[in-house]
């Protein structure tokens, strides 16, 4: 058990920068998820921690030791791989005890530890099976047992649930959380599935294009995303974004207006492009808006498509007027990576019993406490919730400073 520190870690492959100046400070016993889209550098970050790849620049510390140049076997890390990677020519006992046997533990000690590990992952009585005689979930447990049997300082998991079917994945997710509670080891967990990241981790590190975007507890990432990327990536379905610009009295988009005291927003001036972000659950029907404490002015929309999910209904809304113009603009502005639906469209989440049909004219209101404003040019978050503007800013600088210089201290 130890803390893990990455300082200015950069990994370059010929002309591609896989990891760019990564700074992470992970506390002892913490469960941290590295999350991001495919190819964002999260697995490479993991490999540099494990020692399977050497970083081009930067320092990696586990506890007080600088492990940057140590081979994987001397780092005190254990890893669970996406493809499970059990040794097919060894039975379960040999797989689990592989690392111990290499370290010349005596037989009694190996037996004791293997039994303890199989107990934890509930694999008793399967020690003499071969990996190809086991189901996917059982193999994954063996892989986890192999990792925990050595009491590693840091536990690395590279998408360990990706190859399991959906039901088993949810089951293993809770198992992993239980395991973390039991072992209290530092766990770094790589996933591209934001649901996994949200449910399991103490903190989420959102990575995009090799750069750390934000590292915060799940709900902070959800409620106070540092920038457009985090806002769009965390949460399913993702946040609605509407392009607009700052005016004297608030933010004006092509279809609606959000009133607020703009003087309290730092770093932007009247006329600057602003992106308004609002989550589907913060869009409400105007005639049901009584339960919203701070609604905006009603916005006239047309319903487009309904997606009944059982526990809720997703309604796609077409914003009126000028939606073509915003669409064209985003295409020109294509270098900015924003994970969001098309412009001119709002997604709304409603109770399943709501009386609503396709192609219907309705009015919706937004929850002003949950409207996020982003600087369209930098992508950085400006304000989370416009209701309190004029009084005080919601959220402070420390939790959502710039994405590039974010270092958790």
């Amino acid at each position: 058990m130890a803390q893990l520190t990455l300082e200015h870690v950069t990994k370059q492959y010929e002309d591609v920068t896989a990891v760019d100046d990564m700074n992470l400070d992970i506390r002892d016993g913490e469960f941290v998820c590295l999350v991001g889209p495919s190819g964002c550098g999260k697995s490479t970050t993991m490999e540099t921690i494990a020692g399977l790849t050497k970083p081009t620049e930067g320092t990696i510390r586990i506890g007080d030791r600088d492990v940057t140049k140590l081979p994987p076997k001397d780092r005190g890390v254990a890893m669970v791989f996406q493809n499970i990677a059990l040794f097919p020519h060894m039975d379960v006992y040999d797989n689990i005890s592989f690392g111990l046997r290499l370290r010349d533990f005596d037989t009694d000690e190996i037996d004791r530890r293997v039994n303890r590990a199989t107990e934890i992952v509930q694999l008793e009585g399967m020690l003499d099976r071969m990996p190809d005689e086991m189901s996917g979930g059982q193999r994954q447990r063996v892989a986890i047992a192999r990792a925990i049997v050595r009491n590693p300082d840091v536990f690395l998991m590279d998408e360990p649930l990706a190859n399991l079917d959906a039901k088993l994945r949810v089951h293993m997710r809770t198992e992993l959380q239980r395991l973390h509670k039991e072992l209290d080891t530092t766990i770094i967990y790589v996933t591209h599935d934001q649901a996994e990241a949200m449910t399991m981790s103490d903190r989420i590190a959102v990575i995009n294009a090799g750069e750390l975007q934000q590292i915060d507890p799940p709900l902070v990432c959800y409620n106070q995303p540092a920038n457009l990327f985090v806002a769009g990536f965390i949460g399913s379905p993702s946040m609605n974004f509407v392009e607009g610009e700052l005016t004297d009295s608030g933010v004006r988009t092509s279809s609606f207006h959000v009133d607020c005291d703009v003087s309290a927003i730092d770093g932007v001036s009247v006329g600057d492009p602003i992106t308004v972000g609002v989550r589907p659950e913060d869009v409400h029907l105007a005639d049901r808006g009584q339960d919203v404490t701070a609604p905006t002015q009603p916005i006239p929309v047309d319903t487009d498509v309904l997606e009944p999910m059982g526990n809720e209904v997703f309604v796609y809304l077409k914003l009126e007027s000028g939606s073509d113009r915003t669409m064209a603009e985003t295409e020109i502005d294509g270098d900015k990576e924003v994970v969001a639906g098309p412009q001119g469209q709002l997604l709304m989440s409603l109770e399943p019993d709501t009386d609503i049909e396709e192609d219907q004219q309705v009015e919706v209101v937004l929850d002003r406490t949950s409207i996020h404003l982003f600087d369209s040019q930098t992508g950085n978050a400006l304000v989370h919730g416009v209701e309190h503007l004029g009084n005080a800013r919601v959220g402070d600088e420390a939790t959502h400073a710039g994405a590039e210089s974010d270092s958790y201290t």
């Binding site: 494990a50 020692g51 399977l52 081979p71 994987p72 076997k73 890390v77 254990a78 890893m79 791989f81 996406q82 493809n83 499970i84 990677a85 059990l86 040794f87 097919p88 020519h89 592989f98 690392g99 290499l102 370290r103 192999r146 050595r150 690395l156």
Partner: protein, 332 residues
């Protein structure tokens, strides 16, 4: 042909000739088709069996027939009178005589030791090379691989004279310039003079076999082994090689057989044909022939004795070799 038959189908079947009827039957009837394929299979199998097993049969005939009868040269069968090689007598003593006349077991031992040592060297070196070529990406990989391929294209005889010269203990001199590089130790009549060239000659094939196998082992397994506590070399020995067992067995057996049967190099590097000079198995077989007499029955018996270790090896390793030569991708 097919269209012809199709045209025929329309007309009355009775008008067809026997051959046409038969082809018609094969084309339309599944069972007849099966029968034809089975027949063709047996024809091919019997052809191969006869061509490979007949020499063995002949060896057995020669070994059991006393030498005088062989030299008499009358092979006609007792009743029919047809000329066909068959044992004339049952002279099993030849198999004992083989060891009495010359120390044949020493020749077998020589070949065995040479083959085992060469195989171990080849597998060790080719494993390292196969790992590097199969699993790592580095500048110059292509040209190096091509270089190995080029070496394997050289006829072994091309190396013979320079190597013989060097192994005699003569100084190695740069051609044309006349600069003396170094003076090698005198290696003729020692296993070193044979194992070194054999290893060099049989390495390329093994490298290519092992490279293919090692490159198919998923990266995750090697990574897992390294995180668990092995070095890269440890991962090669503990994980990659066991998982490539069919490939390693194939490379080993091919090398072993080639060296065990080798005659050309070893006979020249051993200055006299005596077991003390590490003369090989084939040298032993040929030593039943002197200037005036040739004991064909003993040569045949010795050949059979010499083949036995090979036969045992192939039977034991057969399964692995077959799967090695025909192997597909390995699943994780």
């Amino acid at each position: 042909m097919a269209t012809q038959t199709e045209q025929q189908t329309g007309s009355d079947e009775q008008n067809l000739g026997p051959l046409q009827q038969w082809t018609q039957g094969v084309l339309s009837d599944q069972e007849k088709q099966q029968r034809l394929y089975r027949a063709l299979f047996y024809v091919a199998a019997i052809f191969f069996l006869v061509t490979t097993l007949f020499p063995f049969y002949w060896l057995l005939v020669l070994a059991l027939t006393p030498n005088s009868a062989i030299l008499g040269g009358d092979w006609s069968l007792p009743v029919i009178g047809l000329e066909f090689p068959h044992p004339q007598g049952f002279n099993v003593v030849a198999f004992v005589e083989v060891f009495q006349q010359v120390p044949f077991h020493l020749y077998v031992f020589n070949s065995f030791v040479l083959a085992v040592t060469t195989t171990i060297i080849v597998i060790a070196v080719a494993s390292l090379a196969g790992y590097v070529f199969g699993r790592l990406d580095f500048p110059g990989r292509g040209p190096l691989l091509l270089g190995i391929l080029v070496v394997s294209y050289f006829p072994p005889a091309a190396f013979l004279i320079p190597l013989f010269d060097a192994f005699l203990g003569n100084a190695v001199v740069l051609p044309f310039v006349g600069i003396e590089l170094f003076e090698p130790p005198r290696l003729v009549n020692t296993p070193g003079a044979m194992i070194m060239p054999f290893s060099a000659l049989f390495l390329p094939l093994s490298i290519f076999i092992l490279m293919t196998f090692y490159s198919q082992i998923p990266d995750g397994l090697e990574d897992a082994a390294r995180v668990e506590g092995t070095t890269r070399l440890g991962a090669l020995v503990r994980v990659i090689m066991p998982l490539s067992a069919p490939g390693v067995a194939t490379a080993a057996v091919l090398t072993f057989i080639a060296v065990y049967n080798e005659y050309f190099f070893s006979e020249i590097m051993a200055l006299e044909n005596v077991p003390q000079n590490w003369s090989p198995l084939v040298g032993g077989i040929l030593s039943y022939q002197d200037q005036y007499t040739t004991d064909f029955n003993l040569m045949a018996a010795a050949s059979i004795v010499g083949v036995l270790p090979m036969l045992i090896l192939v039977i034991v390793a057969q399964e692995k070799i077959v799967s090695g030569l025909t192997a597909g991708a390995l699943k994780e």
